[in-house]
């Protein structure tokens, strides 16, 4: 295997283009540091800067416009090897497109070097200005004068890059590059480059148009990917043995309707667990608006002697309503075939079949749903109440759940 960083492929750039000088500087800096080609993965963007893959004898990954820094993050995290060097190459256009990827890589201090070839414009598509085109350059072309460029060096620095620099003069390329390539963590180097087709043809002009050279550092340790050993999710689950009997024949559907934060979902989960403890097949699902902390909260539980395939519950057998939110979304389910228990503060006068009980008053807002469940169990005898006590078991809020469970006992 060759030890040369560069292949003998001819530079694919326009005559006079500055990118060739940068490519040679990268190669020299890598060799000076002592890298072998297979120690290096070069990840490239779209655009003229992204044409460099064939020039390098290293590993190469050629991606999409603006996305190479994020792709490089993945490569670096995947390699997770300090002896390997990930270099991302993109132009000023790509850096504009994927600015957030750069900030994210800097914030995480991922071990890679991002080299931005800044030729002041999008060269491949005809010389359009980019977010890194300098104000002076744009003013001379009367394109967006007065709108400053992103200072990518300072942005990366503020986001946490260990090394962040801008270099304009080719005389300084090697020095700046070696510092960037040697930095442990995320480093960015913006390198000025000539685009003879659309921008400038003389180095002096480029120096005039470019922002000042700059070098900033942060003291931070690089973030390494930690591949953990973990145990099976199933091993963390306690089996739910059959401990109780039930009077449920075939299939029974229970709907709990209340408000977000009212313990509806956890009460339903306890019921499903109690059903399982009673040797039944159980399903439980929740329905709530996207804003989980406000609005209605509905939970559906099916308990069945047979395995449950279809888990929909359009015609529940039991409906427990504990808040106005719950009533408004579940009232269409009320009919003479459903046993409906509702909090006594709710106006259900138009539904004579509804049984009203002081769930909220006796068990509090968070305990009302569970209190409703225990009331249904006491009235129907479908499950043993002890199965719910067992389901609560060592729950972290066990004490208050048990209190809610028995809050209405004296009144039934």
């Amino acid at each position: 295997m060759t030890t040369n960083m560069l292949t003998d492929v001819k530079m694919p750039f326009c005559p006079g283009c500055g990118h060739g000088i940068i490519v040679k500087s990268i190669s020299k800096s890598l060799e000076d540091i002592g890298y072998q080609p297979n120690d290096v993965v070069i990840v490239t963007d779209i655009g003229c800067a992204g044409l460099v893959d064939p020039l390098f004898n290293t590993h190469t990954v050629h991606g999409l416009h603006g996305r190479a820094p994020a792709l490089g993050v993945g490569v670096a995290m995947g390699l997770n090897n300090k002896n390997k060097k990930v270099i991302v190459i993109q132009g000023d256009g790509g850096a504009t497109i994927g600015l957030q990827h750069i900030l994210e890589a800097a914030r995480r201090n991922i071990n890679l070097t991002l080299i931005v070839f800044n030729n002041l414009l999008y060269g491949m598509t005809g010389g359009q200005i980019s977010g890194l085109s300098t104000d002076k350059f744009k003013s001379d072309r009367d394109l967006e004068p007065g709108i400053p460029p992103f200072d990518i060096v300072r942005l990366a620095h503020e986001a946490g890059a260990v090394s962040s620099a801008r270099v304009v003069s080719p005389r300084n390329f090697n020095e700046y590059l070696k510092k960037a390539l040697d930095a442990p963590g995320f480093s960015l180097i913006e390198m000025a480059s000539m685009c003879t087709s659309y921008a400038v043809s003389k180095l002096k002009e480029l120096e005039e148009y470019s922002e000042e050279e700059n070098a900033l550092t942060n003291r931070r340790a690089p973030v390494e990917a930690t591949f953990r050993q973990t145990s099976s999710l199933f091993d963390r689950l306690q089996g739910i043995p059959r401990m109780f009997g039930s009077k449920i024949h075939q299939r029974l559907g229970i709907v709990l309707a209340g408000s977000a934060g009212g313990g509806v979902q956890s009460a339903a989960m306890l019921l499903a667990k109690a059903g399982t403890l009673s040797g039944l097949h159980s399903t439980m699902k929740g329905e709530y608006p996207v804003t989980v902390g406000t609005g209605f909260s509905i939970a559906e539980v099916i308990l069945s002697t047979e395995p449950v395939h279809y888990t929909g519950l359009n015609k529940p057998d039991v409906l427990i309503i504990v808040s106005e939110d719950g009533l408004s979304v579940a009232k269409h389910l009320i009919n003479k075939n459903v046993l409906v228990l509702a909090d006594d503060k709710l106006d259900v006068s138009q539904y004579p079949e509804v049984i009203s009980m002081p769930f909220v008053q006796e068990a509090g807002k968070r305990g009302a749903a569970l209190s409703g469940l225990s009331e249904w169990i006491r009235r129907s005898g479908m499950l043993e109440l002890q199965s719910l006590v067992e389901a609560i078991g060592k729950h972290k809020h066990g004490e208050s759940l048990l209190k809610a469970l028995f809050a209405l006992e004296k009144k039934s």
């Binding site: 893959d53 991606g63 994020a70 995290m77 995947g78 039944l280 159980s282 439980m284 888990t311």
Partner: protein, 375 residues
């Protein structure tokens, strides 16, 4: 028959089963943005995967996934349509680079952000046309908890064997509904390694040179032995950009051929045939259970019907078409109002023999399926 002691009945959901199946199968990285209803994957993934990364957005997620895959890791993400829309660019890139990875799509009601907490089956059409040029993207679709276990393994196996991203298509109702389930029924899964099924490496190694299987052997970027060149643009065997030369165009054609060539190895379906039945119920995913119930009910009432639950939705296998062709009346059951799978099978030609049980906003009920059988 198991004794009570041999069973381990728990309350679980498909998110947990799929997550565990991923890790047991050898997936080592979960990268996600917790869009509803994929949030539980994010939660379980954070606890279970050897490496967990919280992506800031889905574009980034796909790029990180691709980078990790080039380095030889097997990445998994989970999202819903709004995230999938952002992932399209990176998905095409990874498809072109031939990078193994798994995308779990948890369908919810669209269009656009639609209703985040309402289930749906609306993304099959998007996946059918996801890759520019119409190149096939393998899409697996579990219909229950057992499928969630075994099909996840098969999806990862296919992804590695074919060096391609694959999709596991689920729905809110599947991944967020808890059910009592005997997890001792799930057999431990084989841990898969990259290249378990590849052609041998020929020297000099070229990233995209394939042999008999049409799948180039995978060598990770950064290895000490062989130079690798991954490329998202049209490329030759070495991985260099080449515009319209025969080698690079063959490489592009191979993307289709490698996936279709071994379709029979990863085509999964459940076919419950009833002799002399003229009606076939075709369903998948979250509508499959209602279809099972409807079919059983229909038969109980003295009628005849067969049932086909499709688990490898894309590419469409000849076996699936062969079964559908045998019936006088075919009833497609899917939770959308445009008949996405029906249209993939029959196109715009709506024959009198093809029926659709379609719906949005809630799951299709067994009664609605029976109504179609009665028509």
């Amino acid at each position: 028959m198991k004794t009570e002691e041999q069973k381990k009945i728990v309350l679980t959901d498909a998110s947990m089963i799929i997550t565990e199946a991923c890790v047991q199968s050898g997936a080592d990285v979960f990268i996600g943005y917790p869009i509803t209803p994929s949030n539980r994957f994010y939660q379980y993934g954070g606890n279970r995967f050897p490496l967990f990364l919280a992506g800031p957005d889905e574009i980034t997620v796909m790029q990180w996934m691709a980078g990790l895959s080039t380095a030889g890791r097997f990445p998994v993400t989970a999202t819903a349509f709004p995230g999938l829309a952002l992932m399209m660019e990176g998905l095409n890139m990874s498809y072109m680079m031939e990078l193994p990875m798994l995308l779990i799509i948890t369908q919810r009601l669209g269009p656009s952000t639609g209703s985040a907490t309402t289930g749906a089956q609306g993304d099959l059409g998007v996946l059918h046309g996801a890759i520019s040029g119409g190149y096939p993207l393998p899409v697996f679709c579990p219909s229950d908890f057992e499928d969630s276990w075994y099909l996840t393994h098969e999806a990862i196996k296919t992804s590695i064997a074919l060096r391609t991203p694959v999709v596991l298509l689920t729905s809110k109702e599947m991944v967020m509904t808890s059910k009592s389930f005997d997890i001792s029924d799930l057999k431990p899964l084989e841990r898969l390694s990259m290249n378990f099924d590849s052609d041998p490496i020929e020297l000099p190694y070229q990233t995209y040179r394939s042999g008999q299987k049409m799948v180039p052997p995978f060598v990770p970027a950064g290895n000490d032995e062989y130079q690798v060149r991954f490329n998202s643009s049209t490329h030759d065997n070495e991985g260099m950009i080449r515009k319209n030369n025969p080698e690079s165009l063959n490489n592009t054609r191979r993307l289709k051929e490698k996936i279709e060539k071994r379709l029979n190895e990863y085509t999964f379906f459940e076919y419950d045939q009833q002799d002399d039945s003229k009606d076939l119920i075709v369903s998948y995913g979250i509508s499959a259970e209602a279809s099972r119930d409807a079919c059983a009910e229909w038969r109980k009432s003295g009628h005849k019907a067969s049932l086909l639950i499709v688990k490898t939705l894309l590419p469409v296998a000849p076996d699936i078409l062969g079964i559908i062709r045998q019936f006088e009346r075919v009833h497609f059951v899917e939770e959308n109002i445009t008949g996405l799978y029906r249209e993939i099978i029959f196109g715009k030609m709506h024959a009198d023999s093809v029926f659709s049980v379609e719906k949005i906003g809630s799951m299709i009920t067994p009664e609605e399926i029976i109504k179609s059988l009665q028509s």
